[in-house]
Amino acid sequence: MSAPALPRHITAVAMGASAGGVDALGQLLAALPREFPAAVFIVLHMSRERPSLLADLFQARCALPVREATDKEPVQAGCVYLAPPDYHLLVDAGPQLALSVDEPVQYSRPSIDVLFETAADEYGERLLGIVLTGGNDDGARGLVAIRAAGGLGAVQDPATAMVPAMPSAALGIASPEYVLSLDGLAALLRSLAAPASASPAAERLR
């Protein structure tokens, strides 16, 4: 079986991770080429007291600009946006970024479900959602929303995740198109930046 490739109409990728997520996200971000054509939104659960140094940490490994999200910032293709600690990150019409201090959802703020649901509303079939390692079930309902809106779902293969609960939960209710190791997810994301002729699978899906 050849490696899966993403259809060309994907213009945004939303990723969620919890325990073990710094390493997993670091690995995926390092795989993104400079010409990556989609916007990337990330929610990573972390202690709210921690100063947000993640953007710097990830920037050191990523060819794309990595920023902590600012409210009302217009979304740019090829940019990576991180939810700030203790704020929900939402995608609003435009598309532009929005933040909120609404109640934590399932004890989490930022919440992966909130990002996924609002991004699904804005991007519909142009969105890919990815649920990575973590010890709770955040992201599962959000991934259902992404798929219901016509978007694609990917989940880190629980057998390869540092903490399998979160990808397992998403796998259980969202029937994602892709269940892959981090290497597989990295290749999947890179397929979006590959020249059209080099990804026959993408052509087929058009």
Binding site: E68, A69, T70, D71, K72, E73, P84, Y87, L90, V91, D92, A93, A98, L99, S100, V101, D102, E103, V114, E117, T118, D121, E122
Partner: protein, 275 residues
């Protein structure tokens, strides 16, 4: 123009609320508003926003709980301690030069921000010559703010925030605890005026030395943000201060040029001395 059912219904509901109850959510940021209304739909057992609209139009008792869903923001005392530390270290020395002070906490919800500011001013010896205007559109939240009663289990967090905000006294000096609640001191409230005010529809009511409006603007779209920041600009005295939320920015505001960065990392701006 919205074309999906939910978006159409959202616009109709917001119009209905405005016409019937004169609360204006037309300029609220869509993504948060949608999420809150989706939560409200299940709370009120409605499967569509049209059903919710029907309920709220014909049963006024539904409006207040719906308003709570749309507006109430639970904060903490001294949320973002660095903000209050910056007020204390960088803004208070200038505030001290005025014989009397007027401060405005816009969108005060249940009052956590107001008491934080009052305690800080008390510690700096400024509260007695200060008048703090605490405003919100939700009169029930205002009543809770005025009561100044919080669950006792929130106090350890408040106390730690207060310490990190450079607190010079013990937070327990300002409240008394009983039956699982902490009641904040009446003497703080003597200098606070609680008042119903909408950043969407009302105008400026007094000249201010400091406006603190944190994590309110994120719920507004750009036009409404412009209106609100325009009110702050108009209300502030020459070289008055504006504090906003840690992840908010004046960068995208049409009033950006009227303000100078004062303590940018802590989102404190100073109104420029323009002619």
């Amino acid at each position: 123009m919205p074309h999906r059912n939910f978006d159409i219904e959202l616009q109709l509901l917001v119009d209905a609320i405005y016409l019937k109850y004169h609360y204006d959510f037309r300029g609220y940021a869509q993504a948060s508003l949608k999420r809150r209304l989706t939560t409200a739909m299940s709370r009120f057992d409605c499967s569509t926003l049209s059903q919710l609209q029907d309920r709220v139009l014909h049963d006024p008792s539904v409006f207040q709980p719906l308003l709570d869903y749309l507006t109430v923001q639970v904060s903490d005392l001294f949320r973002d301690p660095a903000y209050f530390l910056a007020l204390r270290e960088k803004v208070v020395p200038l505030l001290r030069t005025y014989p009397s002070l007027r401060l405005w906490v816009a969108g005060c919800s249940t009052g956590e921000e107001v008491y934080s500011l009052a305690i800080l001013l008390r510690e700096e010896g400024l509260l007695d010559r200060s008048l703090i205007y605490a405003t919100d559109i939700n009169t029930q939240a205002l009543q809770m703010a005025q009561a100044g009663v919080y669950d006792i289990d929130r106090l350890p967090g408040f106390t730690e925030n207060h310490r990190r905000a450079g607190g010079r006294t013990s937070l327990s000096d300002y409240y008394s605890a009983a039956y699982g609640k902490a009641v904040f001191d009446k003497s703080l409230r003597k200098q606070i005026v609680f008042s119903d005010h909408s950043l969407a529809t009302d105008s400026v009511f007094a000249e201010m030395h400091l406006v603190s409006c944190r994590n309110v603007l994120i719920y507004f779209n750009r036009d409404l943000q412009d209106r609100a920041v325009g009110l702050f600009r108009e209300a502030l005295c020459r070289k008055g201060f504006l504090g906003i939320g840690a992840k908010e920015s004046l960068r995208f505001s049409s009033h950006a040029e009227a303000f100078a960065d004062y303590a940018l990392a802590d989102r404190i701006y100073q109104k420029k001395d323009l002619p």
